[in-house]
Symmetry: C2
Subunit: 280 residues, 2 copies
DNA sequence: TTTGTAGTCGTACGGTGTACCGAATCAGCC
DNA sequence: GGCTGATTCGGTACACCGTACGACTACAAA
């Protein structure tokens, strides 16, 4: 019983810390570092050495401070990583409003791409789940805004954005993985290239993988110079095709913001009721 | 210099271990466990406790063996995880040959979905990069085979499969993350539900996120009972639209297997030449 | 000056991956 | 039977990790 309660409180505190950073008290000993400085130092470490380079001790050392000192500012390492992610997402540059869905969605995808290129360590942390932080939600909001009035059904908006974001993040992840591997095994890209080509020469069997051989023979696996451009264009084309189809199908419209606030309050009340009385 | 060489050799050994498991020698003391037993024990631990439950000591304990004993069978923990992934991918059930692209691609996506549901820990490891193992390649081959003769251009085949797989894996990842969180904080789904609803009640601001509010008001975020069905159907529809477009555009054809073997040998020779003479 | 309060951080505990190396145990040979 | 070489087993040790505990410090307010 108390185990569950503790874990639940911990989850709540982890969320609260992202929205109400709990500024320094005016009483007592003054702090040597701020929460923001801790998060920034951790991000700096992650950018140069990956997420594995971020330990409580290494961050403290970078700040010239004892390891345990960090715990007055962040609560736990998991909370620190949450804060790092939300801080990184604050760097996202939203697309200018008023453009069409295609430019908006493309800008959104490119913004996400830039974000994951600038903070390559995000590819590692994203494995679990994004923290429910304000700036993460800002990015989600911007993504949905690019599609909400394009004519797609509401569920399609969610699905399409999920597909696009999964694609961009997955792409960034694979690129970041190669770079990290190259970094780990010696600064030099050449060594990494040798190790993967070693695989193709010594183990790849065309007879076992005929389809891949066919695609490889026409260069389908070679990444373009501007790596994201070509696949993203294709992906946006398919979204366009989907929107064309939706316009003739005329799905139920998505209500305007003013209209739906009533329903929002209603649903929230219903949700509270369900929690109070857990019987179906 | 020797640092780089060592790292390169390590990478080679990590790849070799997946293709030539290096059977037990006939001389010397007989082994108490086999490599396959080690991998299976690690997978069993991962299935019940997640990847974090897999440590060299815990695997050894599960086998009734000293921790260091494992190193005669797997070389390192990274190599063990590689082997776990490739072993898990061997469970993939390929789609029956001869069906159309849509059934084949759908079966492929569903097979991947089943794989990631059966081995939820795959969602954690996939963050870095899939190991270059034979069974991983079998799955890739099956995916490409479903699309290679659909009429798409070669590069589109690669992009579409990447999008579909990223979607399925991302979806499985988010579901697995929720289950892992629920498990960590108390066996009971209720506690987890309370913690996320705590967020919606206390921090979500409709004024800051109007578009998400609009979509939420019509239930766009509610997951369907058969969670994968609806989004996957939409995704396959868009692939169909893309294929229709490609059939009228008539992209350059992808050569048959027999034709491209010449080009394959040629390219491989070229590659070796480039490596021998690294000047541009 | 005293008291309360908040921040710092040394110590310690239990965990991790794994390098090192002697002990144990076999096949094959004298 | 005894010996040699090959192979595996696993105890010990080291460096690292996250963090609970509690003594210590430095300030604001009383």
């Amino acid at each position: 019983m108390s185990d569950r309660t503790d874990a639940l409180d911990a989850a709540k505190r982890r969320i609260d810390a992202l929205w109400d950073p709990a500024g320094p008290g005016t009483r007592g000993r003054p702090a040597k570092v701020t929460r923001a400085e801790v998060v920034d130092a951790a991000i700096a470490l992650a950018r140069s050495g990956g997420l594995t380079a971020v330990s409580m001790r290494s961050v403290a050392r970078a700040l010239g401070v004892g390891a345990m000192t960090l715990y007055t500012h962040v609560g736990s390492q998991a909370e620190l990583v949450d804060a790092m992610v939300d801080r990184a997402y604050a760097d996202f540059e939203p697309a200018p409003a008023g453009t069409g869905w295609r430019e908006a969605l493309e800008q959104h995808a490119r913004g996400l791409w830039r974000l994951y290129r600038r903070h390559a360590w995000l590819a590692d942390v994203n494995a679990w789940r994004l923290p429910l932080g304000p700036h993460v939600f800002d990015v989600e909001e911007a993504g949905y805004r690019s599609l909400v009035d394009s004519g797609l059904a509401a569920s399609e908006v969610v699905e399409v954005l999920s597909v696009v974001q999964n694609f961009v993040v997955g792409y960034a992840r694979s690129v970041a993985a190669e770079e990290a591997e190259a970094r780990d095994q010696g600064v030099d890209y050449d060594a990494h290239w040798r190790s993967t080509s070693y695989f193709w020469e010594n183990h790849f069997d065309p007879a076992r993988y005929p389809t891949m051989t066919r695609l490889w023979s026409v260069g389908a696996f070679e990444t373009a110079p501007g790596p994201l451009d070509v696949p993203l264009g294709t992906l946006l084309d398919t979204v366009g095709l989907l929107i064309d189809r939706a316009r003739t199908a005329a799905p139920p419209p998505i209500p305007a913001f003013t209209e739906c606030m009533d329903r929002y309050d209603e649903n929230l009340a219903q949700q509270k009721e369900d929690l109070a009385d857990p019987n179906p």
